[in-house]
Amino acid sequence: MRKGYMKFVFLLPAVVWVLIFTIYPLIDSLRLSFFTYRLGMGVGEFVGFQNFIDLFKSPDYWNAFRVMLIYVCVAVPVEMALGLGFAWVFARELKGKAVFRTIFTSPLFTTGVAVGYLGVTMFHETGGPINYFLSFFGTQVPWLSTGFWATVAILLLDIWRWTPFAFIILLAAIQSVPEEMYEAASLDTASEFQIFRYITFPSILPAFTIALLLRLIEAFKQFGLVFSLTEGGPGRTTEIYCVLNYRTSIKYFDFGHGSAMAFLLLLIVMIVVVQFFGRMRKIYE
């Protein structure tokens, strides 16, 4: 470990950048959440917690909150479970494993709004391939014209896009479990499920936790895919939190309520992330 003033020269630009461009907007946003403020009319009067109270009374707010909650509580567990399943399948000697791994990684880097746009064609009720496939089983699904099925469509696309995230992380974790861990187990003829339950899973738990945390953080930010697939519709049935927040702030230029809504989201994310904090700190020892 070296000493000397050079460390400040190296570190300073990054610290200054982050301080200026996150701390200032954060404080400004907090301030605005206590004012009435519409674009063109300037900062209005101080209203205390009125913006927050308005939100709590607004059915649209609770609807957006509910849509986000459903999305997070369904998409994230399914993606983690599927990712874990595929990781388990691939964690053995296979022909062409590198190729399959690459294929299983590619959805992760696709553009959210483009995937949503492609989704509009895939879930198209008369011309789309999914209803075409279902027609062989004698059923048709009104994908984007009912709230329930539009939510399912969002979830299906999201699961396609994010399962790879859990998959590659958990695959790397399973593959780095030392061989000796298994040798002891196979002596007493443990079943494959028991080996997974008592050896593999506990060994990859740290990686699993990290993947879950990072996925959760991203899930609360969901915007692009939903915005381009359903635009929050039909009606407001899929208007997820960030879509409503974006509309309030930038379409209606209601900066006061927009800031208040954004801060409530920050609060929700903080409550979730704090559960993981101790573990995160240990990793960067």
Partner: protein
């Protein structure tokens, strides 16, 4: 896991692998096959295979490039993403090096790192309005510079945390030898450590590039006709052209090809990058 596996299980495993592969590839295939469908086949969902079900045609590609003009948004996306990546790499690498190699007394290196990391937790929508107001006042709405400024802010913490991990992997002895031979700190950094970290840096660069390329919320808020990136272009194409399948497919392919193809080249550092260095391969 080296266990003897029965043939029934082997078959079962391969069924899962093939089903999973088809699932992963289908949306890509759908986009490609639609992009070369002639106009009359557009809404015929059974028409899946070129040459078998339909005669491929470049009609949709032609239409997109003559009417929609994706060239400008492609250039905007490329410029903004590249500039973001370059700035993150320069500033971020320096900070990462300082955190990996120096003794920090008052605030520990670990805590500084977690502080950087915590910026990533912040939902971007929280700073959406302040940035909009700042850009409006500075006349940076609908410019490359405005968007780059925001993207660097969001990606810098990622760059610092992941590159710190990469520097920590490089043996410190090499640098110590250079320092004893009279190299300055700056030389030890640029001549010894940086060349050894180059693979990690390339992986980091590609991930940052993809993040910037795919970002929609700020692109939509801060840019429009002049500096609008691919997500802005996609959304406007969606609302003006409706769902003409083959045109939508061409646009989708133009948007997703650069980040996806670049990301396929990352091998070793992908997992470390995506987990902020927390999971090693």
């Amino acid at each position: 896991m080296k266990q003897k596996e029965g043939s029934i299980k082997r078959v079962f495993i391969w069924i899962i692998i093939i089903a999973g592969t088809l699932w992963m590839l289908f949306p890509f295939y759908w986009a490609v096959s639609n992009s070369i469908k002639p106009k009359i086949e557009t809404f015929n969902p059974g028409s899946l295979f070129p040459y078998i079900n339909f005669q491929p045609s470049l009609w949709a590609w032609d239409k997109v490039f003559t009417q929609g003009d994706p060239i400008k948004p492609l250039i905007n996306s490329a410029v903004v993403s590249t500039a973001t990546t370059a700035i993150v790499l320069v500033i971020g690498t320096m900070a990462a090096y300082a955190l990996a190699r120096y003794r920090w007394n008052i605030i520990k290196s670990k805590d500084l790192t977690v502080w950087f990391l915590s910026q990533r937790v912040l939902p971007p929508v929280v700073v959406l309005i302040p940035f909009f107001i700042i850009m409006m006042k500075l006349h940076l709405l609908d410019t490359w510079r405005g968007l780059v400024l925001v993207y660097v802010t969001f990606n810098l913490p990622f760059g610092v945390v992941i590159m710190r991990e990469m520097f920590r992997d490089i043996p410190v002895e090499l640098e110590e030898a250079a320092l004893i031979d009279g190299a300055s700190d700056w030389q030890a950094f640029t001549r010894v450590s940086l060349p050894l970290a180059v693979n990690g840096l390339i992986a980091t660069a590609i991930i940052v590039f993809a993040f910037a390329w795919n970002e929609a919320l700020f692109a939509l808020t801060l840019t429009s006709a002049k500096a609008g990136t691919m997500p802005v272009y996609i959304l406007s194409a969606r609302s003006t052209r409706g769902v003409l399948f083959n045109v939508a497919s061409v646009n989708t392919l133009l948007a997703i090809a650069p980040p996806v193809l670049l990301a396929l080249t990352i091998q070793r550092y992908l997992v470390r990058g995506l987990t902020f260095g927390a999971v090693k391969e």
